[in-house]
């Protein structure tokens, strides 16, 4: 898709620069003139929203780091100091904390968009894999950020999550000590988490650049999943999609702002306003909402599988639930991308969505009674969807007839 630029530098300064570093040409090709399918719906605005979220986290985070103290006896108080004493601190800290939640809300929508419209299919596998890498980086960043306020939930989340590595046979214990820098989570752990929490968002930004590069080679997928065939199928990115994306960002910022200004703590947990105490675990520990589905999967394995004990089993399923995403492009072999033209796929997809929401709910419940049974069913469906349902559907399903081109589908819609 490169080389579609109409850029023709006229003044001598631009010409001079263009021969040495074609920055303006590059921006024009990739941010302005980039040919974009003309039928993209609002689910396609979440990519831009995610870039905005990362920007918000980086800006508010750098400001927080000017006032935050990464030391076990002072961290908790320094965050309270930010909230109470620092000018606008309450809003900046609230934006960062709420921003993490909004970031995940957006990324889940973005991932489920991809799963519905088959955006991971050839030739966009690398694009998809980079996305899964970013999802993992985001989870690591958010987890380490959550530890920084050094409240009870911070401390016990750090303990429980680092302990997951101890389940690995033989090397587990040394890895655990390496991660913590001690026999228990302590000041050394807090310090390194701060260092990495500062670093990873910039790594993330670099992967975003690769992700967009990998997008601009094949170009966007679109709601009908038929590739762009001619110029009639596309619009220039600017102004058509810059405006659409900006409008979506504004709408997205409305609930965001509501949380920041009216309920900055509603997504958190009251126990995190008690300073970390290594001697007492709160009676009911739960991770942040965006980790709940995976936490439910971790807890669902409370039985031994052959020679694998329940602890290692839980960890394998937990890791597997994310790793399986890397293989989706090769598990779903259907040639038809968009779920809209796949009558059998559709119901299974929506059950998958509901199942994911159910797992989120279950992750927050106590691990007893009916909740355990439902978690097991939910976990089974999660894996079955990727490992059985998608591969089988791609063999047996007869897709609905596809429109011959994007512009045909757009015209037939406006005619009816």
């Amino acid at each position: 898709m490169a080389g579609n630029s109409t850029y023709n530098p006229t003044n001598p300064v631009e010409k001079w620069l263009d021969d040495r570093l074609p920055l303006v040409r590059f921006s024009k090709e990739h941010l302005m003139d980039f040919p974009t399918p003309k039928n993209l719906n609002y689910w396609w605005t979440f990519g831009a929203i995610l870039v905005m979220c990362l920007g918000i986290q980086i800006v508010t985070g750098i400001v927080l780091a000017m006032h935050y103290t990464p030391e076990a006896t002072m961290a908790f108080n320094s965050v309270e100091h930010i909230r109470r004493d620092v000018n606008f601190g309450r809003i900046i800290q609230g934006t960062h904390a709420v921003g993490a939640s909004m970031f995940f809300a957006a990324v889940y929508i973005h991932i489920f968009r991809g799963l519905y419209y088959g955006s991971y299919k050839e030739p966009r596998e690398v694009l998809w894999i980079l996305g899964v890498i970013m999802f993992v980086l985001m989870m690591a960043t958010a987890f380490m950020g959550y530890v920084l306020p050094w409240g009870q939930m911070s401390f016990w989340a750090a303990t429980v999550i680092t302990n997951i590595f101890a389940a690995i046979p033989i090397v587990g214990e040394p890895i655990l000590q390496l991660l913590r820098g001690g026999f228990a989570v302590d000041n050394a752990t807090l310090n390194r988490f701060f260092s990495l929490h500062y670093l990873l968002p910039f790594v993330l930004a670099a992967v975003v650049a690769l992700h967009i590069w990998a997008l601009h080679v094949p170009g966007n997928n679109n709601p009908v999943g038929v590739e762009v065939k001619s110029e009639r199928d596309t619009l220039a990115f600017h102004p058509y999609y810059t405006m659409k994306d900006m409008f979506a960002m504004v709408v997205f910022l409305i609930p965001f702002a509501w949380f920041v200004f009216f309920a900055p703590d509603i997504l958190g947990h009251p126990d995190n306003y008690i300073m970390a105490d290594p001697q007492v675990t709160p009676p009911h520990i739960v991770p942040e909402w965006y980790f709940l589905p995976f936490y439910a999967i971790l807890r669902a394995i409370d039985f031994n599988i052959l020679f694998i004990d329940s602890k290692l089993g839980g960890v394998i399923f937990f890791a597997g639930s994310i790793l399986v995403l890397f293989f989706v492009p090769w598990l779903d072999r259907s040639k038809v991308r968009s779920g809209s033209f796949r009558p059998l796929f559709k119901p299974f997809y929506w059950v998958f969505v509901l199942n994911f929401i159910m797992l989120t709910y279950l992750g927050a419940q106590a691990a007893e009674g009916i909740y355990v049974v439902l978690s097991k069913i939910g976990t089974a469906y999660y894996f079955a969807y990727f490992l059985i349902i998608l591969p089988v559907l791609s063999r047996i399903e007869t897709p609905a007839p596809l429109p011959t081109s994007i512009s045909e589908s757009v015209l037939s819609k406006s005619a009816s």
Binding site: W156, T159, V160, T162, N163, I164, Q177, L178, L179, R180, G181, G182, F183, A184, V185, D186, A188, R192, P278, Q279, V280, T281, P282, P283, H284, I285, R299, I301, D302, D309, S310, K311, G314, A366, A367, E368
Partner: protein, 174 residues
Amino acid sequence: MASEATTETTKRDFLFVATGAVGAVAVAGAVWPLIDQMNPDASVLALASIEYDLSSIEVGQSVTIKWRGLPVFIRHRTQAEIDEARAVPLSELKDPATDEERTKPGHEQWLIMIANCTHLGCVPVGEAGDFDGWFCPCHGSHYDTAGRIRRGPAPANLVLPDYEFVSDTLVQIG
């Protein structure tokens, strides 16, 4: 170069591989300190052994102390708790160990254990659970009056630290 390429091994190939190998060793040598710095440092390791005076703990009381940054339970067990632990047949245990193996001879009333659940490390609540020992609220593991795992996701009994009795009332942990 390309036109001269043969399948024969030349002196140049040898130098190439040897240089590469030396380079790899140098890189590994440079990376190792950068990784090893994350391991527990000298000040953490220096705290590896502590002494604790037991005389103030009455029968039926427990304390939680800190050792190497980890919480440690010291429980002064009642006779009833000891009897209950001894009455359990080994066949009922997920991680079989007798009560005698979990205490020191002559000091059977003292149960000294690292207070982190062997599942994912929460601190269980004392005198709770279905086996009168400890209950871990995080994911529901039940331990008995000898700190042995009886039910729930935890794979093993609460871990015993290395310790010895210096005298009847003084214990050295680590």
